[in-house]
């Protein structure tokens, strides 16, 4: 074992992160070489033989094995790293600093300014400019990794699930290995817009899709193209790399880079069948909707950079939260946000003082990143000074904050509190986009256009998990107000998506909305202080959602790409493994006891109840998830019953249905095992004893406990009640599904007829798409048309033969185009004038030369004299 590894085992994770990237780069290189050699394939020679060596016209299968191998190696490294990391936690000979050094490193990437090396005191005495960079900040964009319990567990989860999905894809994407693939969903002759298209798009049918690799439009049966087996794994590898990089990143900027990469890969993969107009549109939609969130994220990053001077998570936390360690037994004041008021001294110095009433100041106190003697920090908070003075007046920092001769630290500065809130909201907006929360959730169901393994990857391990993960990681940066917004966003999302999922008939869309709903649970949990609950749900949900999606993929493949639940039914005898593993997933997501989902959902409902009991006005945050637990049970069992039980509703589908090959069922079985047992602890039947939960608890930021002390107390008190209520609700929902779909006592059609309006409302997904269409898309398109009409000519294209060229429009000539044309013409006429000087007569030139020299001499002489 090399030395560097002994010193910093965290590098294991760097290697694991780079493995999928290596897979990507190698595949990209080989694909590029193949592409370059393609024109010579008939000519012969080296290029031709290279072309045929690299697979020729037929897509290579080796790429898939190579990518899967890299992913599996990453998974092995991740699990090794997890074990090493956990065992490090039991080593007594390591101080926290040493442990941090073993599991995290950082290097400068782009240096922006010189490091300010002055010691704190000196820095302080420079006077006036309080916005100067505090010492110890390097003013550089950094690359770095930091492994803690959260990232280690997430990393293991992503790589393990990723490996499962890669293996599954080897089977699922088999069609793509053919030399010619016929896409029946693309009409080769005239691409016709689908009925659900918005009218604007229908009026302008998209251009004929480009033909891949020069294959002709094909027959009228469908569109023909080359198989894209390698490309699929190429994208998957890049996707996994981005996600892994996002997980290990120790600063916001690196997160942002990976964040965008994840978005880009999702764009590629959702639009994998880009000849289908619906797929192309879904990819665009996902990308554009995510841009809205990313704009907010960028604002948050910029505020953090300008106000805090660093993007490193740990340093940002130390800047905004009061220090952690304290020998005076005042830990209850650690990890708090401290609000202060600015006050100008007699000598014009700006200082900050604690307000009489805690938590009302207009500014947020910022703390130095490094303390000379952190153990001498005294607690902060209302009692810190009222106990000393007791008169409730404002006290100067000197006695309220640092009683023992360290007053100047207080001048480290502060930032306006509203700016801090905006920063938190901005970061959260990014997470809203990525994690598909209302109101930016509309891209997620449309993302079902991608191949099913992609849906599994997006929904379980990578894309949507990124948002929740970032909220967990950046938790100390969220003000209580932001957390409340997070909680309500989550609550609204989980409810809205669950109601939509009740009526969907596409098997993948039901799952998509259930993902939205479960992500809402996670956000809600994080917002009400259930940090462990939310992230535990993230981990468990990843396993059973990957299982459910891969299961649905298996069903879809077995039914020959039939996704409509109304045409399935009675599939259980045909595909037992898929059905049973999916049943495991359904039970887990419903929260059946002893399945992994039970532990996490139980904790979430408990946290919500604790929060609701402390803040009575927010009891809705408990009622909505409880109600939704029932709906979850209903729609998940509805899906399972509709697909696997009852009479076959479509003879053709049923007759040809078959179980998938082992390469696809094996990942299902493995994921099912994880879905059952990943959250187990000792004893198994104790919802609080989840081992995974305990591990996460060790990685919990101190800020959570500091902010939600009271709520946590209530949560522990009423945990059992909440769990029981959730269980009853889920059972009721599941029971309803049984009587409606399995042993039909109630006719679903009758319910539909009775609730006609509501049913349509839900079927149209609360009219979100229509709303955006009317509010954003159409005005934009209309504006574009208006702008185009104002242009000199409506289009750049030459007029159709037989029609006169359109006359220029006055408006444009008077505005931008007019000015630019005038500028161009002015330059032209100056050139024309100067042309006359260039006579070509040698004697003229010499004359000019002599005169110029004489003139210069004259100037020189007059200056000198």
């Amino acid at each position: 074992m090399p030395d560097w590894f002994d010193a910093t085992p965290g590098r294991l994770y760097v290697v694991a992160t780079l493995l999928p990237l290596a897979a990507f780069v190698v595949m990209l290189g080989i694909g590029g070489v193949r592409c370059l050699c393609r024109p010579y394939r008939q000519v012969g020679g080296t290029a031709s033989s290279v072309y045929w060596l690299l697979g020729g016209d037929r897509p290579l299968k080796t790429g898939a094995y190579w990518a899967t191998g890299c992913m599996a190696a990453a998974a092995a490294l991740a699990v090794t790293g997890l074990v090493l990391f956990l065992s490090d936690g039991y080593r007594a000979d390591l101080s926290p600093e040493q442990r941090a050094a073993r599991w995290g490193e950082r290097v400068d990437w782009v240096r922006i300014g010189a490091a300010d090396s002055a010691p704190p005191g000196e820095w302080e005495n420079r006077g006036g400019d309080r916005r100067r960079t505090p010492p110890g900040l390097s003013l550089a964009l950094e690359l770095g990794y930091r492994i803690d319990h959260l990232s280690a567990l997430m990393f293991a989860m992503v790589t393990v699930i990723g490996t499962g999905i890669f293996v599954f894809s080897i089977g699922y994407m088999k069609d793509e290995t053919d030399e010619v693939v016929e896409d029946h969903e693309v009409d080769a002759q005239t691409p016709r817009p689908r009925p659900e298209d918005p009218p604007e798009a229908a009026a302008h049918p998209p251009a004929h899709p480009a033909h891949h690799d020069g294959h002709g439009p094909g027959t009228e049966h469908g569109f023909r193209r080359r198989g894209r087996y390698g490309r699929f794994f190429l994208y998957l590898s890049l996707f996994c790399f981005s996600m892994l990089n996002l997980i290990v990143a120790d600063n916001l900027f690196q997160v942002f880079v990976s964040w965008e990469l994840v978005g880009l890969c999702s764009f590629f993969l959702i639009g994998f069948y880009y000849e289908r107009p619906s797929a192309a549109r879904a990819a665009n939609k996902a990308f554009i909707v995510n841009r809205i969130g990313d704009a907010g994220f960028l604002v948050g990053i910029l505020i953090a950079w300008t106000s805090l001077g660093t993007l490193n998570f740990e340093e940002m936390t130390r800047r905004v939260r009061s220090p952690e360690r304290d020998t005076h037994g005042r830990l209850e004041y650690a990890d708090r946000l401290v609000r202060v008021n600015p006050k100008v001294d007699e000598d014009g110095d700006r200082r900050y003082v604690l307000p009489a009433e805690a938590g009302t100041g207009s500014h947020l106190a910022l703390f130095p990143i490094r303390w000379e003697n952190p153990r001498h920090y005294h607690g902060l908070g209302p009692h810190a000074h009222t106990s000393r003075h007791g008169d409730g007046a404002e006290h100067d920092a000197e006695d309220g904050f640092w009683p023992d001769a360290r007053p100047t630290y207080f001048s480290y500065g502060a930032m306006p509190y509203w700016l801090f809130v905006v920063m938190g909201l901005g970061i959260f907006l990014g997470c809203v986009g990525k994690s598909a929360q209302v109101p930016l959730h509309t891209w997620l169901p449309d993302a079902m256009e991608g191949p099913t393994p992609v849906s599994a990857l997006i929904h379980a391990a990578t894309m949507v998990a990124a948002g929740v993960y970032l909220v967990g990681r950046a938790f100390p940066l969220f003000a209580p107000e932001v957390l409340l917004v997070i909680a309500y966003t989550g609550a609204v999302t989980l409810f809205v998506s669950a109601t939509i999922a009740l009526v969907q008939t596409d098997i993948k869309r039901v799952l998509a909305y259930s993902t939205c709903s479960q992500l809402g649970y996670m956000m809600l949990a994080l917002g009400v202080g259930g940090w462990v609950a939310g992230l535990l749900h993230l981990l468990t949900h990843a396993f059973f959602k990957a299982l459910l999606f891969l299961g649905s993929g298996s069903v879809i493949l077995g039914c020959h790409h039939e996704q409509d639940l109304r045409k399935m039914g009675g599939l259980y005898p045909k595909m037992r493994v898929t059905a049973l593993t999916m049943l495991v997933g359904v039970l887990a997501i419903t929260g059946a006891p002893l399945f992994s989902g039970w532990y996490s959902k139980d904790m979430i409902i408990g946290s919500a109840l604790g929060f609701g009991l402390v803040h009575k006005e927010h009891i809705l945050l408990f009622l909505l998830p409880l109600l939704t637990a029932a709906m979850t049970g209903f729609y998940m069992f509805r899906l399972w019953f509709l697909a696997f039980t009852g009479k076959p509703r479509d003879e053709h589908v049923h007759a040809t249905a078959h179980e998938s090959p082992a390469v696809m069922t094996l990942p299902l079985v493995v994921l099912a095992a994880f879905s059952i047992g990943v959250a187990w602890g000792s004893p198994v039947w104790d919802a609080d004893a989840s081992y995974l939960g305990h591990l996460l608890e060790k990685g919990e930021p101190g800020a959570v406990e500091a902010q939600f002390l009271e709520e946590r107390h209530e949560t522990h008190e009423y945990h059992l009640t909440a769990g029981a209520m959730a269980l009853i609700a889920a059972a009721l929902g599941a029971g309803l599904a049984v009587v409606v779909y399995w042993k039909p006592r109630i006719d679903p059609a009758a319910i539909r007829a009775q609730l006609g309006g509501v049913y349509t409302f839900l079927l149209r997904k609360w009219y979100f798409d229509e709303m955006y269409d009317a509010a954003v898309v159409r005005p934009t398109v209309r504006l574009a048309f208006a702008a185009a009409a104002a242009d000199k000519r409506p289009t750049d294209a030459p007029p159709p033969p037989g029609q006169p060229e359109l006359p220029p429009k006055r408006f444009d000539l008077l505005t931008l185009d007019g000015w630019l044309n005038a500028l161009g013409q002015a330059v032209g006429s100056v050139g024309k004038g100067l042309r006359a000087v260039q006579t070509g007569q040698l004697r003229n030139y010499v004359l000019f030369l002599a005169l110029t020299v004489a003139a210069l001499l004259g100037i020189l002489l007059s200056l000198g004299g």
Partner: protein, 104 residues
């Protein structure tokens, strides 16, 4: 024999220079232009040598530069004559007023 001093040389150099410039500016014959250029160069040479003689600081530099200019003038004459020959081959004349094909 008494020393002449610097000014007469400078006057001679200026006279030569002006002659050269006027020759370049008025002659239509390309050979004549070339001769004018030689006059200008030699005016500079006279200056170099005169300063080398009367200013001890430039003793070495002045003479070296004068030699440089002579070499340069020789090279220039060779190139210019080649150009003139080519021009004559193409246009059957050495009148520089006819050489205006590249005018604006």
């Amino acid at each position: 024999m008494s020393e002449l001093g610097l000014p007469p040389f400078l006057v001679l150099s200026a006279f030569l220079f002006v002659c050269g410039v006027v020759c370049v500016a008025t002659k239509r014959n390309a050979i004549g232009v070339l001769m004018g250029v030689e006059l200008v160069l030699n005016a500079a040479n006279v200056n170099f040598v005169a300063f080398a003689r009367y200013n001890p600081v430039f003793r070495l530099e002045g003479e070296v530069f004068a030699l440089m200019v002579i070499v340069l003038a020789a090279a220039e004459a060779a190139v210019a004559l080649a150009i003139i020959l080519n021009f004559y081959n193409n246009h059957a004349t050495v009148d520089v007023d006819k050489a205006d094909e590249l005018k604006g």
